[in-house]
């Protein structure tokens, strides 16, 4: 069984490919807004290209790009026409589907009893414009996390069902991207309503669009998308091919879950623990990390109370604190928990890797710890454990 996602192939076929220009893209914004969607997409804020609510194509980071390294991110204006000429925003779409803090319910005292009010934002409709293929894979992974098994996260699922996804295939690979290894990019395979590939050829700027759902197709027609020519489709495929070739980082996934499970006492864990700040940044920016804590609040008089959920991290001390103590007190055990969950036990739990190769945890780690380098070091000097050892 292939535990990692299937290698994405180009979805462009003659009967499913459209050509749209910047004007059509603007129509896409207004059409989605008319249908009640809050349009969320990339925009320049301070020194970063972030995902935020945006009104029109005017808000897109036209001409801007980003450069990353371990623990390093910079934006630069390289000029040019491209609206999606950057790689990834600091945080993922997780912020919108699985918000950092969320009220679950509130309670009001009523004599000897109390009344509960369930908080519900099921009506909220987001249209995400500019979802990268790896991010789309991450959303599909979180779908599994929140809908498989006995317990479902209804809030997540409500927001998710209402979301309209415009994926944008990558025209640039960041130095921390390793989607090819994880088989998640640089072209979107499924899970989108519309997928775009941006082509900038001198003054000729257009998008080749594919619909992934009936609704996507309907909206493409509504915004006046033309049928793409064979040449335009070929250009779009070239963009994806070039990006694939640009990806320099890799993660050898062969037997990875087993490799890590068998090397829990590898010396490399002590080494990384010396460098790790246990700050939690990696888990916060990871598009698949979902751990949270639940906390109770009251008003001073104790008449009303509330319960809310808040992102937590396996790097915080409170996270593994149970009655009687904390079972992960060292930095080593916490880093190991994170990495082995992502790449090993996640597979056992959800039947898929917990890492999509977006590289955010590498970029946004203040000290630039690179999980691909850690895995490489472990693979390089692995110990085969005795049975039961």
């Amino acid at each position: 069984m292939n535990l990692f996602l299937v290698n994405p192939k180009s979805d462009f076929t003659m009967d499913n490919s459209f050509r749209i220009d910047q004007e059509n893209l603007q129509h896409l914004f207004t059409t989605l807004q008319k249908r009640g969607y809050e349009t969320v997409g990339p925009t320049l804020a301070d020194e970063a290209i972030v995902y935020d609510t945006i009104a029109s194509v005017e808000d897109l980071p036209v001409g801007w790009t980003d450069e990353v390294g371990p623990g390093k991110y910079r934006v630069a204006n390289g000029g040019g026409l491209s609206s999606f000429g950057y790689t990834l925003s600091p945080q993922s779409w997780k912020r919108f589907l699985y918000p950092p803090t969320r009220k679950l319910f509130s309670a009001k005292k009523n004599g000897k009893s109390f009344e509960l009010t369930q908080e519900n934002d099921g009506e909220k409709k987001h249209a995400f414009i500019g979802v990268r293929p790896c991010e789309l894979s991450a959303i599909l992974i979180q779908d599994r996390v929140f809908s498989s098994g006995e317990y479902h996260d209804d809030n997540y699922l409500a927001l998710r069902r209402n979301a309209f996804i415009v994926a944008v295939n990558c025209s640039q690979a960041g130095d921390n991207c390793f989607c090819v290894s994880m088989k998640t990019g640089p072209a979107a395979k499924d899970g989108y309503d519309i997928a775009l590939t941006e082509v900038v050829d001198g003054d000729n700027h257009y998008y080749v669009a594919a619909s992934g759902t009936e609704k996507g197709r309907e909206i493409l027609t509504e915004i006046g998308a033309a049928t793409a020519s064979g040449n335009e489709i070929a250009e779009a495929e070239n963009v994806v091919r070039r990006t694939t070739a640009e990806i320099g980082k890799s993660l050898d996934t062969r037997g990875l879950p087993k490799l890590l499970a068998e090397n829990l006492e590898h010396a490399r864990w002590d080494d990384v623990a010396k460098r790790c700040l246990t700050c939690g940044n990696c888990t916060m920016v990871c598009p698949t990390c979902f751990c949270s804590t639940v906390e109770d609040t009251t008003d001073l008089s104790g008449q009303t109370a509330g319960r809310s959920r808040r992102w937590d991290s396996c790097f915080t001390m409170d996270f593994a604190k149970v009655s009687g103590g904390n079972f992960r007190t060292s930095a080593k055990s916490r880093y190991r928990q994170w990495l082995t969950h992502k790449l090993s036990s996640w597979v056992e739990q959800f039947g898929i890797s917990g890492c999509v190769g977006c590289g955010r945890c590498i970029t946004w780690c203040p000290v630039g710890i690179d999980l691909t380098a850690e895995v490489k070091a472990i693979r390089g000097t692995k110990v085969k454990q005795e049975k039961g050892g």
Binding site: G71, Y73, P90, C279, G280, M284, F315, D318, P366, G368
Partner: protein, 262 residues
């Protein structure tokens, strides 16, 4: 606690030691919540705010300031005895404060320079946190503290629940807020990864690195951060100064600043 039985409200006292008053004032500064707080607790002793001085025992003793004189030592022991729960607030009370900078020097020299009659000055050789002398039930960090955290602790006490006060890094708060990391995106030196949450990650949201006002977080790897600060171009002296501010004498920060002493 006869007083409590009469009013039904917990008796609270606020005490001050060596400090600037900023932390206790944050209680008065909680304008919107002040009336609610005042109606939920009985402020029995708070010289900064009221002439009313009701004697202990108290349900909660809130202590601001560091311990710097032999008299302070006696007084904090008495306060401990008369407070069922003792909460220390601010960098002075929890780490010795900015005045702990003197801990690296010979205090006698200072006394001779500053005072005309040094023989009248009776002082300890170091400025120390309250916890060095008596048991503390709860510490609220910060220079100054976050007033919402103080209200939260009082609120939790009143409603017999766990206060929502965190000991993780400032980074977590940056991420929850959606603030782009200034260290990664601008190369701005930042103490956030080793500093305890509580301020709401204010400085990074104004494009500045964290100054460490809330002291060391739960598991501070200051050596790893110092190595990264060096990568960003900070000198040994810069790093020493960065760790030697309001929480200079908090263990992790003290050791790191000493490691960069010339």
């Amino acid at each position: 606690m006869p007083e409590r039985r009469r009013t039904g409200k917990p008796k609270v006292a606020v005490f001050k030691f060596a400090s600037c008053d900023g932390c206790q004032l944050s209680l008065l500064d909680a304008e919107e919540e002040l009336l609610d707080v005042a109606s939920a607790i009985d402020i029995a002793y708070f010289p900064e705010a009221s002439r009313r001085m009701i004697r202990g025992p108290y349900d909660i003793g809130i202590v601001e300031g560091s311990i710097t004189t032999p008299h302070d030592v006696e007084r904090i022991r008495d306060i401990r005895k008369s407070s069922a729960a003792l909460i220390t607030i601010g960098a002075c009370a929890t780490a010795g404060g900015i005045q702990a900078l003197r801990n690296w020097k010979d205090i006698k020299n200072y006394v001779h320079i500053v005072y005309a009659s040094p023989e009248y000055v009776s002082t300890l050789d170091r400025s120390l946190p309250v916890g060095s002398f008596v048991h503390v039930d709860y510490e609220l960090r910060g220079c100054p503290i976050n007033k919402y955290q103080l209200i939260e602790v009082i609120n939790a006490f009143l409603n017999k629940r766990k206060p929502n006060v965190y000991t993780h890094s400032v980074c977590v708060d940056c991420k929850l807020k959606g603030t782009t990391c200034v260290m990664v995106s601008r190369g701005e030196p930042c103490l956030g990864p080793v500093t305890q949450s509580g301020c709401g990650a204010i400085c990074p949201s104004f494009n500045r690195g964290c100054y460490g006002c809330f002291g060391p977080m739960e598991f501070p790897n200051t050596a790893a951060l110092a190595a990264q600060l060096k990568e960003l171009g900070e000198t040994k002296f810069d790093i020493q100064l960065a760790f030697r501010t309001f929480n200079a004498y908090a263990d992790a920060f003290r050791k790191e600043s000493e490691a960069h002493e010339q």
